[in-house]
Amino acid sequence: MLPGDPTFTILGEEATQAQRERAREELGLNDPLPVRYVAWLGDVFQGDFGRSYRTREPVLDMLEQRIPITLELTFLSMGLAILLGVPLGVLSARFHNTIIDVLASTLSIVGMAVPFFWLGILLIMFFSLRLGWLPPSGYIPIAEDPVEHFKLMILPTLTVGAAMTATIARQTRGSMLEVLSEDYVRTARAKGLRQDAVVFRHALRNALIPVMTVAGLQVGALLGGAVVTETIFSLPGLGRMLVNGIFQRDFPVVQGAILFIVSSVLLVNLITDLLYAMVDPRVKVS
């Protein structure tokens, strides 16, 4: 898949041509590309993801170690986005066309436009380098030290989650406004229900359906963001595994990581569709 000769990564610069040839032979690098790909695919179906060219570590072991970290980062970011984004959007809609709305909307446009890796760097520069409040990088398993663990996850979560928070806030605001203008809400209001009760009980539930879809669609973007963010914060997750794999021409590692990412995006899409059907009886799952 990747151009370049991985034997340089494996054997270093000073190895002889004969040593390189031998290593290529052992790794099957002399076979034509389609042959290699089909062989790899066949192995994957049997649960064998191969070994990293560089470290000889089984790719499955690497995935096992790294997936939880990336998933945690993704879930924390999504949690942040929903916990912050939905209320922000509701507030905006509730106080439509007031200063609150303008502020919240501006904030969400800023959130969407800010390049997340730049945000991550600004966060490190400010909270770690300048104030010394949070550690700049690294990873400690939750079982080892929960406090340290979450301290290390705060900045990466903010980095990945900012754009999604903004997207969700914007989406919530939009659909809330739409729902609020619909007939049954007007009826409820006419019946004398207090405005806030209307907003929360009736509108929110319906407004959340499109929000959920957007959230589901954003998982792919979150995973993409995690790739770069893990690199900034030295989190040993899937993303860093992928980026390092690309730099080191470590094909099995790159293929394994991409396979996992794509499968999880497909899975999330499926789950979103199912949830959608559950929440909204008008949608039939085909």
């Binding site: 436009a113 390049p115 730049w118 879809t213 973007a221 963001g225 790739v227 690309i246 794509v262």
Partner: protein, 269 residues
């Protein structure tokens, strides 16, 4: 265009374009000119955005970076449209078989998160600015096609299209004369979304070291370089990031304004 935000966006974008086009005239120094006596000089009258580790003027480099970013943005978005629009038209109008086939491919394509797909493509093609452009274009093609197809599906049930069909106009003629112009509005608005995505993707790849290669200063690679000196020179990462931010900001304002002006409603893309 009456919205004030749209005007702000347009002005920002114009500033960008002027910088990109007029770099030779506007930039205070050539972007590669070194000043050994002014290494990591903080922002000052002489160097408004400070200097880097070789004493190069950050402002000039940011201006040159606009040329790279806008270049990648224009070419990759153009490429995505040139391929994506016809595919979307065909998929939406040429019958269920073509549609089913094309949509299958597009769905598979879209299972790759944008940045991951771009990474994978650059991994295959090799790092560099040109390959980054290609990667961004490939990422955005199916998105464009899907949008256009949706528009076609909507438009082909419109009365004027049905009327044309009843009058015996050929499929080709209906598609090009009646449906295609109707899709233009949303395509233009969508292009502004693609453009900002192109900028983010290019700068992310350059940040990781897979996009623009030194000595060419791309905003993304400037941010990455700045992190080597972030305890000494905050300006190295700050200004290029600000440039990306303002450009994306501007594009989204302009996109919103265009949407209002053209009265287009986009689905979730």
């Amino acid at each position: 265009m009456r919205s004030p935000l749209g005007v702000i966006g347009l002005v920002l974008l114009l500033v960008n374009i002027v910088g990109a086009v007029g770099y030779e005239v506007i930039a205070p120094y050539p972007y590669a000119e070194i000043h050994p006596r002014d290494i990591l000089h903080e922002p000052s009258q002489e160097y408004p955005f400070g200097t880097d580790n070789l004493g190069r003027d950050t402002l000039s480099r940011v201006i040159y970076g606009a040329r790279i970013s806008l270049g990648v943005m224009t070419i990759s978005t153009g490429l995505a449209l040139v391929v994506g629009v016809p595919v979307g038209l065909i998929s939406g109008y040429m019958g269920p078989l073509a549609d089913a086939l094309i949509m299958r491919i597009i769905d598979a394509w879209l299972a790759f998160p944008a940045l991951i797909l771009a990474l994978a493509i650059v991994a295959i093609l090799g790092p560099g600015l040109f390959n980054t452009m290609i990667a961004v274009a490939i990422v955005n093609m199916p998105r464009t096609a899907r949008l256009v197809r949706g528009e076609v599906l909507r438009l082909r049930e419109q009365e004027y299209v049905t009327a044309a069909r009843a009058l015996g106009a050929s499929k080709r003629r209906i598609l090009l004369r009646h449906i295609y112009p109707g899709t233009l509005g949303s395509t233009i608005v969508f292009a502004s979304l693609l453009a900002s995505q192109a900028i983010i993707t290019e700068s992310s790849l350059s940040f990781l070291g897979l996009g623009a290669q030194p000595p060419e200063p791309s905003w993304g690679s400037m941010i990455a370089m700045g992190t080597r000196y972030w305890n000494h020179a905050w300006w190295l990462s700050f200004f290029p990031g600000l440039a990306i931010f303002l450009t994306v900001f501007a594009l989204s304002f302009v996109g919103d304004a265009l949407r209002d002006a053209l009265d287009v409603r986009l689905g979730h893309n």
